[in-house]
Symmetry: C2
Subunit: 504 residues, 2 copies
């Protein structure tokens, strides 16, 4: 029996209603991206804006602040129980979020909302016209506002670090550079090696939509999808979203000329969803509480990358699946052909389409550039030239225009700085977790070869998913793998892939 804790319960009720509103917002977003006719956009904007206003009002209200404070006072007076630690951690995280909400001048919050909306629109126009100068003033404004935001938050962190906190709690620049340093060293040479004998990302064949659909269904069925709590749909950009404690959705898309795109996106988004499905949902730590939430973008990405890269792109996976692809009409003579099609290795201009190896360089370039923009006085006007120079140096490719170059990603158009590194950290975390998994239950590839992935999921469900925000990403990795995060496991993995690719 837990001691009576009325303040804790009242706070829980408040968080629960906040979560209901948040999940309504998510449902509107889901529909917007999967069903809504284009004509519905303006009105949907009004619906989303009303929900956002309600959410903001709740999360910054003095009533809410009082609830948090009362729960803290009650906690201070409670005697030791098994539960006291997690409750304290929940309160720590809520207080931190609340402090951030309260530090911001409402005028800044409103200016940021406007600048994001306008930045996104101008970015779309600039990208269509392939003309960075149309977007530059908006980017300049977003940088200034984000710098102001960091100043108002007044944390003992640099500007970039402060902005990265929502994605990677507790991450420091020093630590990031330390983790990325070996990649800066090793990746360019490895990429250059593959560039000499590139294998195109685009297959010479294609599959009709219904065939791709059937293969995706077969994949999720083989991975134990429960249709009673999951839904799969199509959207222009694949994503995973959770709409309720037993309502998990993913989307995928069919790309003409890329017969494996839909399949790999399904694997990727399903990995995100499995993480969400495995988050803790016990009575009082349920998903309205911080401990019920994903701990960082990098950990989220490590989970999607595990199923995409370690399982679906593995050699034994190709052994088991190539006949199904062939039966659908793919011109494959054997597993080797499918494996090669699943594992292109060729440096290119586009991050989203990059292979596992060159992906890191795309991220390093963005990370360096956004730090330069926010903290080192890089002039916005110089961004395209700097971007192109670095692509030439690191990847040996040069964008023909801004659309192919520094306008390709949406993130900066909404002032999202500090987000990109999570993608690469996700690769590193995935690799290091994989190593630990291998030493405990054997290599994932062996389980894939046996046709039963249950032990893989079981291991993640035991060690990774239920942690929620109880630990940040670094602490999670250390707890699970017994050592600090570094790039060793990742570099070993990609070196193996290059080797296999060349010897095959």
């Amino acid at each position: 029996m837990l001691p009576a804790s009325p303040a804790w319960s009242r706070l829980g009720e408040h968080l629960r209603e906040t979560q209901i509103i948040g999940s309504i917002q998510s449902t509107l977003y889901w529909d917007q991206n999967t069903r809504m006719p284009i004509g519905g956009a303006a009105w949907r904007g009004e619906q989303l804006s009303l929900m956002a206003t309600q959410l903001h009002a709740r999360q910054s209200s003095t009533q809410y602040a009082d609830l948090v404070q009362a729960a803290r006072e009650e906690w201070n007076q409670q005697t030791e129980t098994d539960d006291l630690g997690p409750r304290g951690r929940n309160l720590d995280l809520l207080e931190e979020d609340l402090r951030r909400q309260q530090s911001l001048d409402p005028a800044l919050v409103s200016a940021l909302a406007t600048a994001k909306a306008s930045g996104y629109n101008l970015w779309q126009q600039a990208r269509s016209a392939s003309d960075f100068s149309q977007f530059a003033p908006a980017l300049q404004r977003l940088i200034q506002l984000r710098q102001e935001q960091a100043r108002q938050l007044a944390e003992p962190r640099s500007c970039w670090e402060t902005l990265a906190q929502p994605f990677e709690p507790d991450l420091s620049l020093k630590r990031l550079q330390e983790v990325f340093a070996p990649l800066r060293e090793a990746l360019p040479d490895l990429v250059a090696e593959t560039a000499s004998s590139p294998r195109s990302r685009t297959a010479s064949w294609d599959l009709p939509e219904p065939a791709q659909q059937q293969l995706c269904d077969a994949l999720l069925n083989s991975w134990g999808r429960n249709p009673a709590i999951t839904c799969v749909a199509r959207s222009p950009h694949p994503f995973s979203i959770t709409l309720g404690p037993a309502d998990y959705r993913i989307t995928t898309r069919v790309v003409q000329g890329q017969p494996l795109s839909c399949f790999l996106a399904t694997a990727h988004e399903w990995g995100h969803s499995l993480y969400e499905q495995g988050l803790p949902d016990q009575s009082h730590q349920w998903f309205a509480w911080p401990l019920g939430q994903a701990t960082s973008m990098a950990v989220h990405e490590s989970q999607s990358l595990f199923w995409e890269n370690r399982v679906a792109r593995s050699r034994p996976f190709a052994d088991r699946w190539w006949r199904q692809f062939a039966a659908m009409g793919a011109p494959l003579d054997g597993a080797e052909d499918l494996w090669r099609a699943l594992n292109p290795l060729a440096p290119g201009l586009n991050r989203v389409e990059a292979d596992e190896l060159s992906y890191g360089l795309h991220i390093l370039i963005r990370t360096d550039l956004e730090i330069a923009l926010l903290e080192q006085g890089l002039d916005v006007a110089d961004l395209p030239a700097e971007w192109n120079r670095r692509y030439g140096e690191l990847l040996g490719v040069t964008p023909a225009n801004d659309a192919e170059g520094c306008l390709q990603d949406v993130h900066w158009s909404e002032g999202l700085f500090g987000y990109f590194p999570s993608y690469l950290l996700g690769h590193l975390i995935s690799a290091q977790l994989c190593q630990a998994m291998t030493s405990e239950i054997g290599a994932p590839e062996d389980h894939v070869a046996s046709g039963d992935i249950t032990p893989l999921l079981g291991w993640l469900r035991q060690h990774v998913h239920p942690v929620g925000r109880a630990l940040n990403a670094e602490d999670l990795v250390r707890q699970v793998t017994g050592r600090l995060l570094d790039s060793t496991a990742f570099l070993e993995h990609v070196r193996g892939k290059v080797q296999a690719s060349q010897s095959a």
Copy 2:
């Protein structure tokens, strides 16, 4: 230029936000019926309940009442403009709705919500078990609560009339019986005539889902569907819903062994949607205002029935479409075969599956029974026997059990009394509007034969759709057709169908 009317504008802002919340509720409902995995049901219930609470609070708040009153006072002082009449009508309708909201004891509102939820659950169980006695106490309770609701509303109307107002504003029992009387006389004999040589509702053939899908797409394309503002999906029960001023959705379903069910449901729901698409949306009369809304369920139904029965079930339609059905694999030797399959004539036990002719009898039975329950002291326990007796007398069929009989419809399980007549009134209105249309622009069948339905839609868009709630159903019919609503046109239509069916 309109005179300044700040109170009117403030009221409009309030209604607009109410409409946003209402449309969020509709979006949640849409998703619930088209995408949501079953596991999402409980949480979706919480989302819907939160939105319902917000809506109710807004619509019954003194702040809102003050806004309406201020707008009325402002209106009283305004000089004559083109706009003064419609504004006054809007205020009349808002005041009426508000008066109803305010007349109800909150305890009754809450008791009704509980009784509806529990009634629906018990009805589902009772229907599964085909045992009316499991539902009877819940129905008894709903009847008592609805009677109490009518007492509290204290309108100069009978109990049943009061409860029917939300569906058919201004409808009286006397008028309803007057309109239905000729149907009571004529329909049983006509149905008996067809019963002697019945044509089954179930075709001896079927079509695969993709073929049905393709035919439905072709139908909507031929009717000018604009995909930028419309969306079509699947749901267990077909429906039409409007989620925003440029966001119209319909659903359909594929029924095994009924190859035309999906196609006709598409035609039907599209008719509902066209009405919504044609409602007035000018600046100040936009869909947040009463004048921007559908005037009655019967008028709504008249629009869906027009496209289903007058267009898609017409002989020239079969002439134009049978080859497309045959190309998809339907075993048709000519238009006659398709027309017969589209026009079954055989009395049965089920309202939803009834043909145009016997449909009216299903409604007359329900109408008489709910009036008897609410106003004439019919004992709930006697409902199944009364139901079965009337089916035997009027349709010559007898339910084998309660599931086939008085438990078949959902309406009463939620205490919806006064709703059923709208379906039949919709048939009558559709027929009478069709007559007027014919005399002005020629018979719909001729336009269908020519392959261009634009004039049909154009006529409805001119005379029917833009009226909104400016006129109630009867006044709309009188304005458009020049005479009071009666059953002449409908009976003429069904007599023609029986004749064509026998001579063909």
